[in-house]
């Protein structure tokens, strides 16, 4: 089942430059890292990117939601998302913010292929998630999408390296290749000394780093983070956000869900969600983004290896 050719493809880019750790997926993205005046995030109708007229071909956004509605049956019908349209460009950093029950987690689950929309279309990296088979969605979760959860969700009996290598198991990587890859990613998130520790031997911040490394291991097109700092103290939370910022700077696309403005401000733009609808899309100025990270010197020391 394992195809060595594929493994080589995935692994080789990093050998060129060991710092260049989170290479951008090249296939679907034509949009170069988006600048502030040409947001790749648009609301209802703001389809494609403003570049479309200038460039020869209209670049397809990495993530595109069109008229997405999701309802749950909980005693009565609850509409979690109501006709939501949104697109995320490759390399963008978007925060989805809103109170509990606003539908922000549902939005994340739809983009992450954990759930399917009742109406509308969810496209992620060239695939209509509602149209593909369940097993194709599962595959995409393992290759195109990286999840980071509030509660870390690490496998309790697996070591850090094995946790990070888990998505690669289901992607058919060879054992040695995937453990190598896992160690490299762990090194990069600053956990080089914790390869063989089990989750219960790690602190909250370290666990979240393992989870981030796991999300990055298959070189996904997009990272989805659901309240990534919700289970750690403020200081550790700042470290995590700093790490996510670094990961974004290396060209990765991130979609973050949070109820906290302080966290959401780390992103380039904030999508405000309330009662299953997008209320507003706010561009975050560079000025606003920095102060929230708190004690900078400390972050720098810890964030680096």
């Amino acid at each position: 089942m394992c195809c060595s050719g594929r493994v080589d493809d995935a692994v080789s880019p990093r050998t060129a430059d060991s710092r260049e750790f989170f290479p951008v997926r090249t296939q679907p993205l034509v949009v170069s890292p988006v600048s502030n005046d040409s947001p790749a995030t648009g609301v209802a109708g703001a389809d494609e990117s403003p570049h479309s007229e200038a460039s020869e071909r209209a670049p397809t956004p990495l993530v595109e939601l069109a008229g997405v509605t999701k309802r749950y049956q909980l005693g009565g019908t609850v509409t979690a998302l109501d006709d939501v349209s949104l697109s995320l460009g490759s390399g963008s950093y978007t925060a989805v913010m809103g109170p509990s029950g606003s539908g922000k987690s549902t939005l994340l689950n739809l983009v992450g292929g954990l759930d399917t929309a009742d109406e509308g279309r969810v496209r992620v990296a060239d695939d209509d998630l509602g149209a593909v088979s369940e097993s194709r969605r599962a595959e995409k979760r393992g290759t195109d999408i990286g999840f980071i959860f509030q509660t870390f969700n690490l496998m309790p009996r697996l070591t850090a390296v094995e946790n990070v290598a888990l998505p690669l198991v289901f992607d058919g990587w060879d054992r040695d290749d995937r453990l190598d890859r896992a160690r490299t990613v762990l090194d990069d998130v600053g956990l080089g000394a914790r390869y063989d520790h089990k989750p219960n031997e790690l602190s909250g911040g370290q666990r979240q780093r393992v989870a981030i490394a796991r999300a990055l291991a298959p070189e996904p097109s997009i990272l989805l983070a659901d309240e990534p700092t919700g289970n750690v103290d403020t200081e550790t939370g700042a470290e995590i956000m700093r790490l996510l910022g670094e990961i974004h700077e290396r060209g990765n696309t991130i979609m973050l869900v949070s109820h906290s403005r302080r966290i959401a401000e780390h992103a380039e733009r904030i999508v405000h969600v309330r009662d299953g609808r997008i209320e507003d899309v706010e561009e975050v100025s560079d000025l606003a983004a920095t102060p929230a990270s708190g004690d900078d010197s400390r972050d720098t020391r810890r964030g680096r290896n």
């Binding site: 992450g112 954990l114 369940e134 097993s135 999840f147 959860f149 888990l166 289901f170 058919g172």
Partner: protein, 414 residues
């Protein structure tokens, strides 16, 4: 997902719950081992019986009177009626392919004394010297007709505090009250001409020559004079002519013989080779073995339910892990494969441990029953296949449940 990786993950989760997995495996071991024990013990007994009859008496054709209804062969009602006269014995001896004809009759005895010791001995077997072969005689030789001699089997020779040896004299008190001193001329380990003689080795037996000891006579219809008549005759055939001798014996005995005339109303002469008897015994033992092994299979079913139960618990307990695996790319098939591998692994371990345990217990049982050890190969294979199959089947439903777990719900599960 690679099978090797599934195996690794399954083994890890089994090891994480040693006690629970261990108990499940014990259930499986008991199931598999009991199938192996009963099947192997049955096969051993069967092999021992067949070896006893088959080896010593393969070319024997037994003739006995039996009741005429369609009872199972070997049935003994009517057994004991002395219908085979000396005339019949002589005639049979002249048939082609016959090596010897051995009539056997019962001489009533009350006691046997040797030295100062007297033991009860209910009966003696009156027969002819041809009943002993060189192979069966442990020491000494066969008696001669008309002599005051006897041959004892090993059990009879050891029945006294001091072992009886060739050349000793024992004192027999016959049922008639008469006392005879007879010289022991041979010790035997068995005879031919005995009906399933292999069973009798532990019973003391005393063999006497028909002349002068066998008292039963009838008037022969063919010669009109009183001659000895026996309840049982064994025709020892040339090994290449067993079937034709059987045919000829049957034809003669049921038509022109004295026996046919003397036979009481409703009875008939039954002629069987040892092959027929072996077949019958084999059938009976087979049926018993299958019945008992069938009962053992019930314990396998119970073990299967144990595996299903434990895998279900495992699925529930690991709901969150299933959610995590699905979130990082595990397909429903991967999930199913993981749990099936786990239950199949439990079944396989049960089979791998159960087979040797079963064989050891069966070996012990054969020692206890004093029969040779014969492995019921096909049943062992059956047990292993069933063990692994049971693991897979028992894991199917839980694995299916696992594959249907909703990842969002599962991730929320604590």
């Amino acid at each position: 997902m690679e099978f090797r990786e599934a195996l690794r993950i399954a083994a890890r989760s089994i090891r994480a719950h040693r006690l629970r997995s261990g108990l499940t495996v014990v259930g499986m071991v008991i199931g598999i081992a009991s199938v192996v024990v009963f099947a192997t013990f049955g096969a051993s007994v069967q092999a021992a019986v067949i070896a006893d009859i088959g080896e010593t008496n393969a070319n024997n054709v037994f003739a006995t009177p039996a009741s005429g209804d369609d009872g199972p062969p070997g049935r003994v009602s009517g057994f004991g009626q002395p219908v085979f006269t000396e005339i019949d014995v002589e005639t049979l001896r002249e048939q082609e392919g016959v090596e010897a004809v051995i009539p056997q009759g019962i001489v009533g005895v009350s006691t046997m004394a040797y030295g100062d010791q007297t033991i009860a001995q209910r009966q003696a077997t009156a027969t002819v010297p041809a009943t002993f072969t060189d192979d069966s005689l442990v020491s000494g030789e066969a008696f001669e007709l008309g002599a005051n001699e006897t041959v004892l089997n090993e059990a009879a020779a050891k029945a006294f505090e001091q072992n009886v040896t060739v050349g000793s004299t024992v004192k027999l008190t016959l049922a008639t009250g008469e006392t005879r001193n007879v010289t022991v001329v041979g010790i035997t380990s068995g005879t031919r001409g005995g009906f399933v003689s292999g069973f009798g080795e532990v019973t003391p037996r005393v063999y006497l020559p028909v002349d002068p000891f066998y008292p039963t006579t009838v008037e022969s219809p063919s010669v009109g004079a009183d001659v000895r008549a026996y309840p049982q005759v064994t025709v020892v055939a040339n090994p290449n002519a067993v079937e034709s001798v059987k045919q000829a014996t049957e034809t003669y005995l049921t038509t022109e013989s004295d026996a046919a005339e003397l036979l009481s109303e409703g009875a008939e002469i039954q002629v069987q080779t040892s092959g027929d008897i072996v077949e019958t015994i084999q059938q009976v033992i087979n049926r018993i073995t299958r019945f008992v092994t069938g009962i053992a299979v019930i314990s396998l079913v119970v073990a299967a339910i144990g595996i299903a139960n434990i895998t279900l618990v495992s699925v529930t307990e690991r709901t969150k892990e299933i959610g995590i695996m699905k979130a990082v790319g595990a397909t429903n098939r991967d999930t199913m494969q993981l749990f099936l591998t786990e239950s199949a692994l439990l079944g396989t371990v049960g089979a791998v441990v159960g087979v040797p345990v079963g064989l050891v217990v069966a070996w012990g049982a054969t020692r206890f029953a004093e029969v040779g050890f014969t492995i019921a190969g096909e049943w062992v294979v059956f047990a292993v296949i069933v063990g692994i199959g049971v693991g897979v089947v028992a894991g199917l439903y839980p694995a299916w449940r696992a594959s249907k777990v909703d990842p969002i719900e599962a991730l929320r599960y604590e």
